[in-house]
């Protein structure tokens, strides 16, 4: 069931309507837990972050000006709470020397002194049909493992964009970064996760 529009929600929340609060609590907490978890070391800490976030939301409702969507505002508070508890960085800019350079191993392309320079040496192998139920659980496990291995800033962006499905503008608002920076991080994260799946499928081919 979709939530009421923001202006109605805000009025009801400010009026102390706890049904409205329960609605947003239940609708948004899972996504916030996932977001928090991409910053912090464990599930318990993620739960604490989300609780602290909701308490900050309750305290700050009077200050919400409606310049962004309510959910974006709540998520931004969650990001800030998570950053405080997280181990690593608080800035979301691409890191020079880490977040630049090719995302596909240059050895996979013909070099400049070869014919067809810059083209694939051998074509990427097609993947089997993802609908096969037998693979679904294993694939999810591989994806989760891949996400865990990403640098935090890449993990947060790909979680918000691809796992949670937010658009570029919203994610930029939540993380307070530029679209260009956000895309750099998303690009690297997707390339890495794709490569992990490629390795997984290649392994299955060999065994078959």
């Amino acid at each position: 069931m979709p939530l009421p529009p923001d202006d109605e929600l805000v009025i009801r929340l400010r009026d102390g309507d706890d049904t409205a609060f329960a609605l947003v609590l239940d609708a948004w907490s899972e996504g916030m837990l996932r977001l928090a978890r991409s910053f912090v070391a464990d599930a318990d800490t993620a739960a604490e972050v989300v609780q602290e976030t909701w308490l900050a939301v309750i305290r700050g409702l009077g200050r919400f000006e409606g310049r962004s969507a309510l959910k974006t505002w709540v998520y931004r508070i969650c990001v800030n709470q998570a950053k405080r508890r997280g181990v690593a960085e608080s800035r979301f800019e691409p890191v020079p020397g880490v977040d630049d350079g090719p995302t596909v191993d240059p050895a996979r392309f013909r070099s400049d002194d070869e014919e067809w320079a810059g083209h694939w040496r051998s074509l990427p192998a097609p993947w089997p049909d993802p609908e096969q139920q037998a693979l679904a659980g294993e694939i999810r496990a591989r994806l989760a493992a891949a996400l865990a291995r990403l640098p935090e800033r890449q993990r947060v962006v790909i979680t918000l964009r691809d796992v949670e499905g937010y658009g570029s503008d919203e994610v930029c608002e939540m993380l307070e970064i530029t679209a260009a920076n956000q895309r750099v991080l998303l690009h690297r994260a997707r390339a890495f996760v794709r490569a992990e799946l490629e390795t997984y499928y290649a392994g299955k081919e060999v065994r078959a």
Partner: protein, 77 residues
Amino acid sequence: MTEMNCNEFVELVTDFLDGALDEDDQTRFVDHLSLCDGCSTYLDQIRETSDALADLPAVQTLPDEAREHLLAAFRKT
């Protein structure tokens, strides 16, 4: 306008999917895509990866105790 190579193509997939390529790069990208099976496969796989991530189930929910605590905090205000 120079033709795009595969090693350039793979670095532009995210921009392409976000509609963020400028006109010239967009043309070069789409032209290359239509000619190159390898890059077509690569782009499909990036999309598939993104789609698969969307299917990851939620692994964590708010514990009931926490939920009650928050509702109580809300009611106190």
